[in-house]
């Protein structure tokens, strides 16, 4: 756990970058600091490992005051990843990764063996080990940066816009892998970004900061979308928040409709017989949906062949049973037949839903949220506590 206790940073030129910040980053969770440029995110992050010293206030690492002891010792126990990776250009990839273990006195051979393992873990082939950073793409360098930060297995990781210098496709990929890795490792992470979508995707909790270095809201992503604390947060969280908030609402038991399906390789005529509104769902031998077959478009003589992948419309997205309302709605809206395909956890076909069925579910849920909000407003008016700072509860995520 990392705890900011009324931390202020005033630079020598008089700029107050962080102003009496109180914040807790719980163990094993990802806390995202997000906010406009210059709001003091980097300053806050760097005060944790004392690359910047607070002007006043304390920062606790579990029950240890970080101000005590040598900064270099403190830092060896805290992983750090920065925007352009900041790799050492004069060292090979593997030596970059082995940096901290070597500083901590691990033998060279052992440190390298560990480093090699870590490279694999962050998705880099072993033959990258002997390359120099300049021989890697930006995304690959960033992976090395993550591996280097993980090398001494520190319980705490600080990440300053680690994925913002790569293209959107690579960024999405790195984010996915980051979440997978965190699922395995369960580090205490403070992650800085100026991208609210990234914050919402990655954060267990999100701290929105405003210029001047104060906390505007600390909340779970779902809460941030459904209940921004003020106009600044609402503006920062941005458009489409109603739709995006559905991404945090579990779909629950949707009213699934069974659907006659055909397997790949079956007769086209069978597919035509089973079509509803001109569309038949095609599955493979494991019952996993492959796409929709539009029977109205088929030429008469073509109906004698069998169902092949080339004939399928692949436009529809799939939603899992345990997925979110956003996935379910998207499945329905993107399906050429208008019927969204829902699959079991293992990927086999479960049933279909229509957009209006999903909307009905959304409506019902919204009514519940409205009710909750009314009692919340009543709470506030009655002088009750606001649900912001420090709370990590999951309001709004339950159906």
């Amino acid at each position: 756990m990392i705890r900011f206790e009324s931390v202020t940073k005033k630079y020598p030129d008089g700029t107050v970058a962080v102003d009496h910040l109180d914040l807790v980053a719980p163990s094993g969770q990802i806390t995202v600091l997000v906010g406009p440029s210059g709001c003091g995110k980097t300053t806050s992050l760097r005060m944790i490992n004392r690359m910047i010293d607070p002007s006043s206030g304390r920062i606790w690492l579990d029950d240890r005051d970080t101000a005590k002891g040598r900064p270099s010792q403190l830092r060896r126990g805290i992983g750090y990843v920065i925007q352009h990776a900041g790799l050492f250009p004069h060292r090979t990839v593997i030596d970059n990764v082995a940096t901290v273990p070597l500083l901590l006195g691990t033998g060279r051979r052992e440190a390298r063996a560990q480093a090699l393992e870590l490279l694999e873990r962050v998705g880099l082939p072993a033959n990258f080990a002997d390359r120099y950073p300049a021989q890697l793409s930006g995304g690959q360098q960033q992976r090395v940066g993550v591996a280097r930060a993980l090398a001494a297995d520190p319980p705490v990781m600080l990440m300053d816009e680690p994925f913002s210098a790569v293209d959107p496709v690579v960024r999405a990929q790195l984010q996915e892998e980051f979440l997978r890795l965190q699922g395995e490792l369960g580090k205490t992470i403070v992650f800085v970004t100026h991208d609210i979508d990234e914050a919402i995707k990655l954060g267990d909790q999100v701290a929105v900061m405003r210029v001047g270095g104060t906390l505007a809201q600390l909340a779970t992503p779902a809460e941030l979308l459904s209940r921004p604390a003020d106009a600044f947060v609402a503006g920062f969280v941005g458009r489409d928040r109603g739709y995006r908030a559905l991404g945090f609402a579990e779909a629950g038991e949707l009213p699934l409709t069974d659907e006659p399906v055909v397997r790949l390789g079956e007769e086209l005529s069978t597919a035509c017989d089973r079509a509803r509104d001109g569309w038949t769902l095609v599955v493979d031998a494991e019952s996993q949906p492959q796409g929709w077959l539009g029977v109205r478009g088929l030429a008469v003589d073509a109906q004698r062949g069998s169902v092949t992948p080339e004939l399928l419309n692949l436009g529809g997205t799939l939603a899992t049973e345990s997925g979110t309302l956003r996935e379910a709605l998207d499945a329905a809206l993107s399906s050429p037949s208008g019927r969204g395909v829902i699959v079991h956890e293992g990927g086999s076909f479960a049933g279909t839903v229509t957009a209006s069925e999903v909307l009905a579910r959304i409506e019902a849920r919204a009514a519940g949220v409205r009710h909750e909000a009314e009692s919340y407003t009543a709470d506030v008016l009655a002088g009750g506590s606001t649900h912001n700072a420090g709370s990590t509860h999951n309001a709004g995520a339950a159906p």
Binding site: M51, S72, Y132
Partner: protein, 218 residues
Amino acid sequence: MSELWNYLRANQSDIARWTWTTVWLAGGALVAGLIIALPLGWLANRYRWTYPPLVTLAGLIYTIPSIVLFVTMPGVLGTKVLDPINVGVALTAYTVALMVRVVADGLSSVSGDTLAAAAAMGYTGRQRLFAVQLPISIPVIGAGLRVAAVSNVSLVSVASLVGVEQLGALFVRGSEQGALVPIVLGVIIVMVLAFAFDAVILIGVRLLTPWQRAVRAR
């Protein structure tokens, strides 16, 4: 051509001695100058306000004609007038003058991201300097060193005017005797020496910076 050869054979032992003196005067000054310039350059880079005065001072030293420096050294150092140390110290001063700026610029050429990362990994200030900043500056420092080496080799010959015997003696002889051969021979040997210094430094830098080669070959 054969005249050059004959002259070389006839004065073999003199020329060998002079060459050797030139090598150690130029080379010794180069090494000593670098050793002095490293902390000064570090200072100029670490505390930026020291950069302008240090670099200006270095520039001023460089504008002093070498003959003036050679002549005043005995007064400054309290050495004998004919002592080659005078020449060595004067050349060292030139090397320092050239290298302070080079070292400071080399150290500051290391990207801020890299330095921040080094600090964040838990390097102490000194470890960071020696394990990260200095190695990364080697190409810049090496380039400056090549200039200083060539400059030293050619400056050494001026020392003949203050009576220190080295390859410059060939030029003195040539002009005294009105003979072209010793002068041409002197120029050739000085050039070969300068080239050799240059090559040694170049090879040294190459060996110390394998990452540069890897990147260039990409």
